[in-house]
């Protein structure tokens, strides 16, 4: 009973992710850089390699590490399998981050796409959480201490911090309970949630009639097959080949088996959280862990719900002026962040200078102001000098946040050595 309509069900289902015809503008590579598609592809690769890894991996303190060694040494292509999972996991973090930046600067998050921005942020969080829970599983020194540091960061959240950290770990230290818990999050709940959210995400893209295009330019519809499909296949193949080549050449790191008595020097969080760790070296944890992330999240969520007068959906940086301003803002934010890092590292000792002031004020609020005041002055400057519109200001704020995080990540992961000293 294989009537024409029912044959090749899987191919057809996949094709139905796309409409029959697409706007010619929307399939130019520079419109999306294929980032969303690559992220989806990486997720599928992670899913497949992850399911295979589950057959080799034993989630217990006694056997986790040895099962990874066994996988690497005695299973045919075992090391390659692990490398593929590891590097696509890292790739997914990077690609998702770039994807967020792409949709933001191409003004693709407003009006009917608001909801998808929220779902996107949620997925970004899930991707980070997935990677982080996976990071613990090999149970080596790197994994154990990164998770110890990260979960202890949680405990600085006022009032609920300790309870929250204990809940994540299942106790006050990273133990087998933590390992098991992370394993189930990593290989059960999180992938399930991701599949669910991805479906909504794709559906909402189609509901908004595809990715954004510039309405001012001429628009022409072309058949999806082959115009878009071939491009997608080429990009997918390139990603897959690159991933395999990379995984054949570079092994996923594995240090000694976890030892709760000896912390490596320095102990670092996973690279995508190094910006956080860097922030924490300077500012009071109440701010670093709680106030700042809360404000940033609120800001990100709120962006598409503000009222703008001069919004050009689908136009990169909204206008040529916006593009120029973004570039200047980027340079400004790099400099400001570096200056504040160096100042706070070598010249500031707020706690000792004002011992009678609570540390929450001296190393918290004051340090935040040290960054915010110049930033605000800068925003005021571009507003009066360049006659920047509200959307330009919001873009500049976004640029400052992203740039600051990138700079802190680079300083934290590359420039800090023993004892977390700069240039050690």
């Amino acid at each position: 009973m294989n009537t024409a309509g029912h044959s090749k069900a899987i191919t057809k289902l996949l094709l139905h992710l796309h409409p029959n015809k697409v706007d010619e503008q929307s399939i130019k590579f520079t419109r999306t850089f294929g980032l969303g598609g690559v992220a989806a592809l990486l997720f599928v690769i992670l899913f497949i390699t992850g399911m295979l890894l589950r057959f080799a991996y034993v989630p217990s303190v006694k056997e986790a590490y040895d099962s990874i060694i066994e996988l690497q040494n005695n299973v045919v292509f075992g090391q390659l399998l692990r490398n593929l999972h590891y590097w696509s996991g890292m790739g997914l973090v990077l690609v998702s981050f770039l994807h967020v930046i792409r949709v933001f600067y191409s003004q693709s998050i407003y009006y009917e796409r608001r909801k998808n921005w929220i779902y996107g942020l949620l997925m970004m969080f899930l991707v980070l959480f997935s990677n982080f829970t996976g990071y613990l599983l090999p149970w080596d020194q790197l994994a154990f201490w990164a998770v110890t540091i990260m979960t202890n960061m949680l405990s600085y959240i006022p009032f609920i911090g300790d309870a929250l950290a204990d809940m994540v770990r299942g106790g006050d230290e990273v133990t087998e309970i933590t390992l098991l818990r992370f394993y189930h999050f990593h290989t059960g709940l999180l992938p399930l949630l991701m599949v669910f959210l991805m479906s909504i995400h794709f559906w909402l893209v189609r509901k908004s009639k595809g990715v954004t295009v510039q309405t001012s330019e001429k628009r022409e519809m072309v058949p999806t097959h082959p115009n878009l499909l071939y491009k997608e296949i080429v990009v997918a193949l390139i990603v897959i080949v690159a991933l395999f080549l990379f995984s054949m050449l570079v092994n996923a790191p594995l240090q000694d088996k976890a030892n709760p008595l000896i912390s490596p020097n320095p102990s670092k969080a996973p690279w995508y959280f190094m910006g956080f760790q860097e922030l924490l070296l300077h500012i009071h944890p109440g701010f670093g862990i709680f106030v700042i992330p809360l404000l940033v999240t609120a800001f990100l969520v709120y962006i598409p719900y503000m009222k703008y007068t001069d919004l050009k959906v689908g136009v990169w940086f909204n206008s040529d002026k916006g593009k120029k301003l973004t570039l200047i803002t980027f340079v400004f934010a790099v400099l400001l962040t570096l200056v504040v890092i160096v100042t706070s590292e070598y010249f500031l000792d707020l706690r000792d200078w004002m011992p009678q002031v609570p540390v929450l004020i001296s190393t918290g609020l004051l340090l935040l102001l040290l960054y915010m005041v110049p930033a605000a002055a800068y925003l005021y400057y571009i507003k009066s000098k360049f006659d920047a519109a509200k959307i330009d200001i919001v873009m500049a704020m976004f640029t400052i946040l992203i740039t600051a995080y990138i700079v802190m990540t680079i300083v934290g992961s590359l420039l800090r050595g023993e004892g977390m000293h700069l240039f050690a």
Binding site: I149, N152, M167, G170, G171, S263, P264, M420
Partner: protein, 155 residues
């Protein structure tokens, strides 16, 4: 967005709220702490009191504490977990202090902060002396902001 509140939406939202609460509750109790506070009272036997000389620090790695005996014979069982982000501190004999390898916090033999980023003194464990044996209650770390003489245990 205007808030519309009819009977129907009210009932719907009430049901959603109840369901979410239930889910949160189940999740919370599943993930909630396994071992409750003081239930397990594990006293670790650190050895005979006469073994510990004054003004010396003895590591008990497997039990996650250092036994610090001060000049006057008072004792502290100091946790190895740095109060900054939980790395394991090491006792540095030459510098006579605990140092943390992760972000370079340092603590003196009382566990007090000598250099940041840590802000709080190292946790301690209760000590009890029975039949000349030093017993340390390793399941009940005590948080403290700073060192006080009352924390010492004497023979």
């Amino acid at each position: 967005m205007k808030l519309k509140f009819t009977r129907r939406t009210f009932i719907k939202r009430a049901i959603y709220a109840l369901l979410s609460l239930e889910v949160v509750y189940i999740f919370y109790s599943l993930l909630g702490k396994k071992k409750d506070g003081d239930v397990v009272d594990g006293w670790f036997d650190a050895g005979n009191i006469n073994f510990f000389e004054n003004n010396k620090v003895y590591p008990f790695g497997s039990a996650h504490f250092y036994l610090s005996r001060l000049e006057d014979g008072g004792m502290l069982a100091i946790s190895i977990h740095c109060t900054h982000l939980g790395c394991a501190v090491q006792f540095n004999q030459n510098k006579d202090r605990f140092v943390c390898p992760c972000h370079a916090s340092a603590f003196n033999k009382h566990g007090e902060v000598l250099s940041p980023p840590a802000t709080r003194a190292l946790d301690i464990f209760p000590i009890s002396i029975r039949d000349n044996k030093v017993l340390v209650n390793i399941n009940n770390p005590i948080r403290r902001d700073k060192y006080e003489a009352s924390q010492l245990t004497y023979v």
